[in-house]
Subunit: 171 residues, 2 copies
């Protein structure tokens, strides 16, 4: 009996950081859990980053993923927003790396391409495909759905689940 | 006998993060130590952030500052550079905050204004004033000098050393 590879996908954001955990075994993927870690917008920046850190670290402690994938979010034209995002993203990369996980990064277009088969897919298509690939997946928010899509993208790119995903995409 | 307030100033950067530790007692400031934490440009982003984290955390462990100040670095027009800086800055804010320190943030102009007395001061003027304020200060790099200037700015803003700094600036 082979042990599944447990992957965590993370969609970083200062206010809401989405996370999704999946198991990959051979050509199949299985939903484990998903959620969102939030920080209190009324707090100063530094304690907000601690909130994100501690929340993400607790998710790692509880689910014990062995590989991580983080969205390399599109850089927009608002430098202040980019700086904020970068700070949250720094935490999203740090937490798994400190635990010794390899951390892969995927651009949004790579996620869309892997999940929907087209780089210009809409958010609703991503959510639908996550449900097609993992019918038992539950997620309340776009952030959690995006995080699951990032985890699936990593599964696809590492080759383990490519058959399963390719079939589902062709449906 | 009063206990000095130990302050760490941090000038964040992905390749080089400067740090400077000072003691404030009444109206006087005293140099304790300064240096730079580096990350290996040949590594992936996530392990580089771990290098910055572990280096900064070791500095906190060794010197035991009780307050922290981080430069709110100017946001330039290169979004990729801003994202990189943001990620390093996230770590620079996280490390002291996780240790329970209050973390203040100062824009570069606020640092120049507090140290040199003018918001448009040059880097060389900052270095000179750091030496005037703390003749025993040693620093090999601009990053360490900037970090000491940020620590001095915090001392100035929290009111404890304002007299000493104001006198030195007026010299």
């Amino acid at each position: 009996m082979t042990t599944p590879i447990r992957i965590i996908g993370i969609d970083p954001g200062l206010r809401r950081t989405g996370w999704g955990v999946i198991d990959v075994l051979g050509n199949s993927v299985r939903f484990v859990a998903s959620g969102v870690v939030t920080s209190d917008g009324g707090d100063e920046l530094a304690p907000r980053l601690v909130q994100l850190h501690d929340g993400l670290d607790a998710v790692h402690e509880h689910y014990g993923p062995v590989e991580a994938a983080v969205e390399h979010t599109f850089v927009n034209k608002d430098a202040g927003a980019t700086l904020k995002l970068g700070q949250a993203r720094g935490i999203a990369l740090l937490v798994p790396a400190r635990r010794g996980l390899l951390v892969a990064e995927y651009a949004p277009n790579a996620v869309k391409k892997a999940i929907v088969g087209a780089g210009h897919a809409e958010k609703i298509q991503i959510r639908m495909m996550v449900k097609v690939l993992m019918p038992k997946a539950t997620f309340d928010t776009d952030d959690a759905a995006d995080a699951l899509a990032i985890a699936l993208t990593h599964a696809h790119h590492r080759g383990v689940a490519s058959g399963r995903i390719a079939r589902a995409v062709a449906m």
